[in-house]
Amino acid sequence: MKAIVTVMLKQGVLDPQGEAVKSALGAMGFDGVTGARQGKVIELDLAEGTTEAQVGEMCEKLLANTVIESYRVEIA
């Protein structure tokens, strides 16, 4: 089984990299980009029987810094 973990900065946390992406797109002539947020995706290959709760624990302890980041887990 696989888990796809998406880690994003929480709403309200300034994302300078996302801001840079947004302004680069604007400078290239792509009008209408009103916001860009940059995060990361971590794909985990897991032994059968690994629970979503265990993946949640991995996120809390390592994959995300929950002071500034939120995460989403998708089991595939």
Partner: protein, 222 residues
């Protein structure tokens, strides 16, 4: 007096930090990230600058989970002194020994220069060699030094006088110009600027020497 300096794969200021401690009279032992315990009789642990584990995932995140950092957290929990510089500050925040986080510099650039600072408190074993309000300079060299903390956390740092240094010309977007913070018991300091790069005449700046000599004085007396 004995200092232990932690070495992670990717540390690059470990020897500089060792020199800073030695010049102040400490015996220094370098400890490896896979060690699960600190040497006997250690008075202070230095967590150096660099790019531990290639800054993978988040700066300091992997290092924070290393065996030696569990030992360092236990040491701090027993009232031990810990100094984290640059990447070491990031590691201490990731281990939650210090509050807040260090994010990408607001200007997105790596900033490397001599940085004008203000000593925000002299009430700690790290800063007692300065007077509150002193204008000093330490070198900085970082890409992720943008210190952020929530409103309540900032109020707590202020109320408890735990902001150790502030920038006089904020280079990275840090909240409230914060360059370094202390733990609640004032025995753990994390800061982005490098005091160990300003300890001898050949550095062109000796403002950092007062930190190491103050530590030596505090730990001899302890």
């Amino acid at each position: 007096m004995k200092a232990a300096v932690v070495q992670f794969p990717g540390s690059n200021c470990d020897r500089d930090l060792a020199v800073g401690f030695r010049l102040a009279g400490f015996d220094v032992e370098i400890v490896w990230h896979k060690d699960a315990s600190l040497p006997d009789g250690v008075d202070i642990v230095g967590v150096p600058g660099g790019f531990s584990y290639g800054d993978y995932l988040r700066c300091g995140a992997i290092a924070a989970q290393s065996p030696i950092m569990r030992a360092v957290a236990d040491f701090a929990g027993r009232g031990g002194h810990v100094l984290g510089v640059c990447n070491g500050f990031q590691v201490l925040c990731e281990t939650r020994l210090l509050p807040g986080v260090l994010m990408r510099n607001a200007g997105l650039k790596f900033v490397c220069r001599s940085e004008p600072l203000r000593v925000a408190t002299a009430d700690s074993p790290f800063t007692s060699g300065y007077a509150k309000g002193d204008a000093i300079a330490y070198p900085i060299a970082h890409h992720d030094g943008n210190y952020q903390i929530d409103e309540d956390g900032l109020a707590m740092l202020r109320a408890e006088d735990r902001i150790a240094f502030t920038y006089r010309d904020n280079p990275n977007g840090s909240r409230a110009d914060i360059a370094g913070v202390l733990s609640g018991n004032r025995r753990v300091l994390g800061l982005m600027p490098h005091p160990e790069r300003a300890v001898e005449a050949s550095h062109g700046n000796e403002d950092g020497a007062a930190m190491f000599s103050a530590l030596a004085g505090a730990l001899v007396a302890a």
